[in-house]
Structure formats: C-alpha cells, structure tokens
C-alpha cells in the first residue's frame, strides 16, 4: 500500500520538475553505491581465488582465471590438509559454543523474567555488568588460569570462555517476558507440572525464535573471533580458520607464490558464513535489542 502511494506521488512530482525527478532516484542510487562498496571485495576475492599464481599478476584484476580447482587442491594439500582441520575446528568452536551459550542464556533469561525471588536484580545487574568488561582485561588472566590447570592450548580454552554472553542473557530475558504468558505457566502449575518440566516443555518451545537469533549472533561472533584463540592456542592443529588464515598470511606475505593459496583460503573461509547468512536471513532480528532500547 505504502509503496503504491509513494510511487504515484513520485510520478506526479517528477512530472512537476526535473529537480524532484532526480531526488527520486538519488536514495536508490546511494543505497546501490553502498551495496557495491560492500559486495566488491567479496566479489574480487572470488575472482582472485580463480587465478593461478601466474594469472594473479598478469591478467586484469577483474577477469576470471582458470586455476580455481588447482588452488583449492593445493590449499587442501597444504601442510597435510591443515586447512581442513581449521575448518572443522571452527565449526566445533562456533557450533558447540553457540549451542551452549544459547542454552545458558535462554534458561537464565527465563528465570530472570518469570520468577520473583530474593537477589533477582542483584544477579541480573552483576551478570549484565559483564557486557562492559572488555575482552582485553580477561584474555591474559584467562590464559594464565587455563595454563595453571593445564588447559591452555586445548579445545576447552577456546570453547569455555565464550559460553557466557551477558548480552544474550539480556536479550533472552526480554524475549522470555514477551513470549511466555504467565497464565500459561500458572495453568501448567495447576495441572501439576513441576518447574523443571514447565521450563523444558512450555517455556523453551515458546522461546525458540528468540533462541535462533541468539544462536546465530553467537555463532558468527565465535566464528569471527581472533583474539581468544590467538592467545590461547599454540598448536596449529587446534586453530580455527581466523588464526589459521593469519598464520598463512604470516608465512606467505613475502612470497607472492603463496598469494593464491591465501586468497583461496580467505574466500573459502567466508563462503559458509555467507551461505548461513543468506539462508537464515529472516532470523537476524536485532529488533530484540532495539525494542528494548526504546
């Protein structure tokens, strides 16, 4: 409806004068410029990943090459297939971490939203205060504590610190208070359901859309994290893709012969996320957060 009225009023105005007409396409043009700016590097790396080492420097920067499959093969063969390991590790860290994080956030958010108990506000404020603690302050002591317990340079060192995410608890609390009617919980109690059962059977199913959003944001955040694994891990067999790519760059920055591997690696490491991003688009609901700000 709004689109139709806008289109007709637009037509009426553009007949009135050239100024209004050009103002009419300016917003679209600006947005398209933004879109091109955002897509261009991704498009460029895709092209670059198709070039053989020779073509990379000799052919036009925007012409496709012929070496894509060779590049992928070489990358997967690089140091006995360490790239595969990095990809698997990333999936483990991001998938496992985001699942656990979502579960913890959902249960905490539910408890904070739907129960009145002594200490509720104190616990909430302390947990939320965690948002303000920068990763910097935590990284070094976390590393030292992990090494004290012999856990540095293990999968746990990257997985465990990323489970607690204060902002997700905050979001889950807002979502729980909006999505779970008190009357439904009361009805369950009258029917004799225990609190654990109410949580698992009534509350959690109602929270699923909010949990998907929290999961996605956590998944992307852990997938993209560089600092924590960079500090925690020494053995490159446990690296996620981000740290792996960095070491690839360190090894190849001065060897143009390795450029095609680095570019192919960069391209392959963003493909899964872009695919996830495009398929799960309707779940990127930051209105969860912005709704709370109002």
């Amino acid at each position: 409806m709004a689109g139709v009225t806008a289109a007709t009023s637009h037509r009426r105005r553009s007949r009135g004068g050239a100024v209004h007409g050009s103002w009419g396409i300016a917003p679209t043009a600006l947005l398209l410029l933004g879109a091109i700016y955002c897509l261009f590097p991704v498009f460029w790396v895709f092209i670059a990943a198709t070039k053989s080492p020779g073509e990379l420097f000799s052919t036009s920067t925007l012409a496709f090459g012929t070496g894509f499959l060779d590049n992928v093969e070489q990358l997967f063969a690089y140091r006995d297939g360490v790239f595969w390991l990095w990809a698997g590790n990333t999936l483990l860290y991001a998938g496992g971490g985001a699942l656990l994080s979502t579960a913890v956030s959902a249960i905490s958010g539910y408890a904070l939203a739907k129960y009145r108990f002594p200490g509720r506000n104190v616990i909430f404020n302390i947990l939320i205060g965690g948002i303000l603690v920068p990763a910097v302050v935590l990284a070094i002591p976390q590393y030292l504590l992990f090494s004290k317990f012999g856990l540095a340079d293990t999968y746990w060192a990257v997985l465990l610190p990323q489970i607690l995410h204060p902002y997700s608890i905050y979001l889950a609390r807002i979502y729980a208070s909006a999505a779970i009617p008190d009357s439904l919980l009361e009805a369950g109690r009258i029917d004799g359901a225990g609190e654990g059962r109410l949580m698992a059977r009534v509350a959690m199913p109602l929270m699923v859309p909010g949990m998907v959003t929290i999961f996605l944001f956590q998944f992307v955040a852990i997938w993209n994290n560089f600092l924590l694994p960079f500090i925690m891990l020494g053995d490159d067999g446990k690296f996620p893709l981000t740290v792996g790519l960095y070491t690839l760059l360190m090894a190849g920055a001065n060897q143009p012969a390795l450029y095609n591997l680095i570019l192919t690696g960069a391209f392959l490491s963003i493909v899964p996320l872009i695919a996830l991003f495009l398929t799960m688009q309707r779940y990127w609901r930051t209105d969860l957060s912005s709704g709370a700000v109002k």
Partner: protein, 294 residues
Amino acid sequence: MNQGRRSAWPYLFLTPAVVLFTLFLAVPIGYTFHLAMRRTKVSGLGLGKGARREVFVGFDNFSAALADAELWQGWLRVLGYGALVLVVMLGLALLFALLLDSARVRLARFSRIAIFLPYAVPGVAATLLWGFLYLPSLSPIRSVLDADLLGATTVTYSMANVAVWGGTGFNMLVLYTTLRAIPRDLYEAARLDGASELQIAVRVKIPILTPAIILTTVFSIIATVQVFTEPTTLRPLTNTISSTWSPLMKVYRDAFITGDLYSAAATSIVIAAVSLVLSFGFLRVVRNHAFGEG
C-alpha cells in the same frame, strides 16, 4: 506453600550462568588486578620455577603504563582511527537505515542484504581482502586512485575503511529494525501536515532513533578502543604498522613476546578504564544535551 516449593528453581536455572561468570569473568578480573600490582623480583628469563619471586609494588605498574610514551602514541593513533571509524561508520549506517525506510527507494531488499553481508566476513578475512586490494601489485584500486594505500599516513585511513566496511551493515540493521517498529501512521500524520521526506527523517525519525544510536555508539567505542585484529592482520603486508600500533597490541606484545605479564595486566586495566570513561563520558554528554529538558 507452592511459592516455597518453587523458590529454589530460579537459582537452579541461574546456576550455569553464575558459575561461568565466576570462573571466566570474576576470577580472571580479580587475577588481573592481582598481577597488575606485582612484579618479578629476580630478573632474567624466569624459566626456572625458583628463579622468579613476585613482590607487591602497588600502583607502580599503572603509573608506568600512564607514563609510557609508546602507549601514548598508540592511544593517539587509535583516537584518530576511532574518530574516523565512529563518524563514518555510524553516519553511513544512519543514512542507509533512513534510505531503506523511506518509501521511495527501489531495490531495498537487495541493498539491505548486500550492506549487511560484510558482517558475515571475519575480521581477519576482511583485513586480508582489503590488504590485498591495497597491495600495489594486485590492486584494482591503485589503477584508479594514485596513492600508496599502505603508506605511513594513509594506513590509518585504509584500516578505518576495513572497520567501516565490516561494521556499517550491523549498525544499519539495528537502526533499521528500530525504524520498522515505529507505527506508520506517525509518518502519515506528518505528511498530511506537509512535511517532506527529509523533514520527516530529521524531525521524526532521528529523534525516535536516538536511544538506538546511543547504544550502537557505545558498543562501537568499546570495540574501537580495543582494536587488535585489523592492525595485526595488516602488519605482514606493510612495514608502516608497528607491533605496538594500538594499546591492545602493546598488551599482547608485553604479555606474550616480552613476557612482562605484570605491565600487560596493568595496561589492560588502563584500556578497560579508558573505554569505560569514554562510554560513560559519551552517555553523560548525550544525556545533558539530548535529554536535558527531562
């Protein structure tokens, strides 16, 4: 009676979050303060267990961090970089959100997805992409723009560009979803009063967006103060970025290369304090100006 039986459950639901908070936030923070107030008495490599002895030095490490010229240079660089990123990134995010929300625009869905897409690209991969795009031997930009994009003066702009590219879409989405939550008839009323699209944007939409803009600004400040991934990843491609380019890079170097955990701990607390002061300072200024009448 029922209430009494129920009372343990919320605490049970909150147990995982509280345990994680204690282990991975509270204890490491405490340990950072503990470290920051100590020094190793016996100098050397500190390899042998008995070779090092910790002594309490109070706030010496903090005053050393505050007097450190290298750190100050880092702060200045990050200040320039951060101002650039904040203004351009949030400005573009606001512009795109308003354009997307205006009824006139075409291809809105495509542009929204395209501009949000860089959010799915890890910081390491994004810096790598742009880094190669900046390289004279590969760059299609260099043929258009005749400048050394990795030079001593330009590298800050080049790095800011990576952050703007990566962050605009996310902030745009937060602002856009806030705008979509506003009832449409509010605009209709303004239109009937004869307001143009531009006037509606400035007089109606931006004031409604103010809390969301403040939230995104605070998060962006916290992120820019801790900038680490972009300069670290860009370093192998140029010699204009020092190992102490940003304060967090200096913390990393002190802790893991030089092996001085104590001053690294003190410096990381200083970084945390600066980001808190900047965030709260910003909130205070905004509150006095925007909500002064309240």
